[in-house]
């Protein structure tokens, strides 16, 4: 079996194993896995409305996945996507509420604000990594909590003591009547298009620009890159800034498309952490991210149908996602088992 095939098989095997573990848990706790997965399926593809909502859910997952994947390619682990998303969400909503401008200026401005806010939140860990060699994992985790508390305080200030901002002006909204009519009035919005364009942008940066080449080189081997005359520190900061910008855009999807406001949060949205799953499953490639985001976004939205249709708590899907990450992370052992299975087949022939 070639290396390429095993590389592709690891995620697929992990997904299958995850679904099997989910089925076992449902069975043990007294639910019917068949009913459960049927409810999940209907929750994803049931009718035009659910398909629209599923696509809507996939949108931020695409961007969160890109954010994690982009950092990974440069050898950085951005756990801070969650925090960058939250500040992006706030920034976009704030611009959407604070001013009223013609759509052609307002919408891009709000989107840009989200990207800049996310980039700023990514810049801090990038700078600390470059200047002080501080591990980005810990800093990004801490930045997540700082983002959560700071945005909550800002929302309270902006709304004069309330829990959420006003609705954004329609001139900053990503919603489109066309898409709503197409999907029986789901909240599907133009952000999906933007997210797909960003997938292309990531591919272009990584594969077609000097910057991308340097970022990947730094990811493979910092010392070699430095020896080759690349500015490692600059690349680390750039990687975190771009990654943060992607994450901020994911926040803009929520602010300008799905909700059209921002409310204070008791805890994290989870999208940022699921972005890690998306990137890992997609092997940190742009195409892979589309695959991962589609899978996890669908699972996440489809799960909402499970309590009503089959009486199963939605958390079952979170369990499945966690188990999938677990298996993808343990790729070494799956690869080993696959190679062994392939080896045995050869002997049998």
């Amino acid at each position: 079996m070639s290396n390429r095939v095993t590389n592709l098989l690891v995620p697929i095997v992990s997904v299958v194993l995850g679904l099997i573990v989910g089925a076992i848990i449902m069975l043990v706790s007294g639910y019917s896995p068949i009913e459960g997965y049927a409810a999940l399926w209907n929750g994803i593809f049931g009718d035009l409305y659910t398909i629209g909502e599923t696509l809507r859910q996939i949108t931020p997952y695409l961007l969160a996945g890109l954010a994690v994947a982009f950092a990974f390619r440069s050898g950085l682990f951005n756990i801070g996507v969650e925090g960058q998303l939250i500040v992006g969400w706030f920034a976009a909503a704030y611009v959407g509420v604070a001013v009223e401008l013609p759509k052609i200026i307002h919408l891009p401005l709000a989107i840009l604000a989200a990207a800049v806010a996310g980039a700023l939140w990514g810049f801090v860990p990038g700078l600390l990594k470059a200047k002080f060699r501080v591990h980005e994992v810990i800093v990004t985790i801490m930045m997540n909590y700082i983002a959560l508390h700071v945005t909550n305080a800002l929302i309270r200030t902006v709304s004069e003591g309330g829990d959420r901002t006003e609705r954004i002006f329609t001139s900053a909204s990503l919603r489109s009547e066309f898409l709503e009519n197409l999907t029986e009035f789901s909240r599907l919005h133009m952000g999906l298009l933007l997210a797909l364009i960003m997938v292309g942008v990531m591919w272009f940066i990584l594969e077609k620009t000097t910057l991308g080449f340097e970022l990947k080189a730094v990811g493979f081997n910092q010392h070699a890159s430095e020896y080759a005359g690349m500015n490692v520190n600059k690349n680390i900061i750039m990687a975190m800034v771009i990654s943060g910008a992607f994450a901020g855009l994911a926040g803009a999807m929520e602010a300008l498309g799905t909700f059209e406001y921002v409310s204070s949060k008791g805890g994290f949205t989870g999208i940022g952490f699921d972005g890690i799953a998306v990137a890992l499953l997609g092997m940190n490639t742009p195409l892979g991210v589309i695959f991962g985001a589609t899978l996890f976004g669908s699972l996440k939205y489809g799960a909402l149908n499970m309590p009503n249709a089959a009486g199963i708590p939605i958390e079952i899907v979170e369990i499945v996602i966690a188990v999938i990450i677990f298996f993808v992370a343990s790729g070494y052992i799956i690869r080993l088992l696959l190679l062994r299975a392939a080896g045995k087949k050869k002997e049998a022939k």
Binding site: I25, S29, G30, F77, I79, V124, L128, K131, F132, V134, H135, V137, I138, V139, I141, M142, M143, Y145, I146, H149, V150, N152, A153, G266, G267, F273, I276, A277, L280, P313, E315, I316, E318, I319, I321, A322, V323, I325, F326, V328, A329, S330, G331, Y332, I333
Partner: protein, 319 residues
Amino acid sequence: MSFLEILYFIVPSAIFYAAPLILVAIGGVFSERSGVVNIGLEGLMVIGAFVGILFNLLFADTFGGLTPWLALVAAMVAALLLSLLHAVASISFRADQVVSGVAINLLAIALALYLVKSIFDKGQTDFISERFARYNVPVLSEIPVIGPLFFTSVYNTSFFAIGVAILAWFVIYKTPFGLRLRAVGEHPMAADTMGINVARMRYVAVMISGALAGIGGAIYAQTITGDFGHATINGQGFMALAAMIFGKWHPLGAMGAALFFGFAQSLSIVGSSIPVIQEIPNVFLLILPYVLTIFALAGFIGRANAPKANGKPYIKGQR
């Protein structure tokens, strides 16, 4: 309110908030000193809190006042089992330890909520009837100043946590086991050459971290919240992780940091009734522990260096 009265008010509640943090941070010290990064502390705490509350609800009638303590044991076992998953993935399967930790966190909260909804048919459990009780330590609480500060309306769990921290310091720095633990985390190949079983040491360390995180979670749930729901732990595990780093991977340092973070947390909660402090916007107190941790890592408050082999799987024979 006089300054002393303010202290009498804040210090006991700081210690009360710090107790679970201390235990979980010490757990983190064990794991990371052996070279296994444990981002999963949060999830292990969640499982501890859930099992602790569940045990308490189920057996309160049988065991009466002993229930909270027995619940700690149940929580310890449950979190230890979950930490085995992290150990297997990161030690035997050579998984990325951070990714495996993230998976543990997602899994723990999902599994706990799934079970809560299956068992109780709602989003959170009932409130427990047998809590840890506050009490005044006889004699000691009579001492002026120190009495009201440290020995009035305290929880036994706080003393337990401080005891564990001192014990951990002894184990890590004064016993052969501790020396081996540190060796495995600094230079596994050298340790292996000297005949230390690296994988076994790391398994033991991760299991200790699971056990302590489980106890910490159960203490948190049984003293502070009283029930279990999706927001019960809400970042306490990550704050313990921060305390571990702020304490520079040293048990007593971690304890000090946890006490300080407990102080910040209690200020953000009870601060609104204290003059001067109520002038400070709450958000600054809330983010203080996280900001300080970043500063500590950046070297503004003395250099914090992780164990050298932290986060790297040990592959025999690889240089």
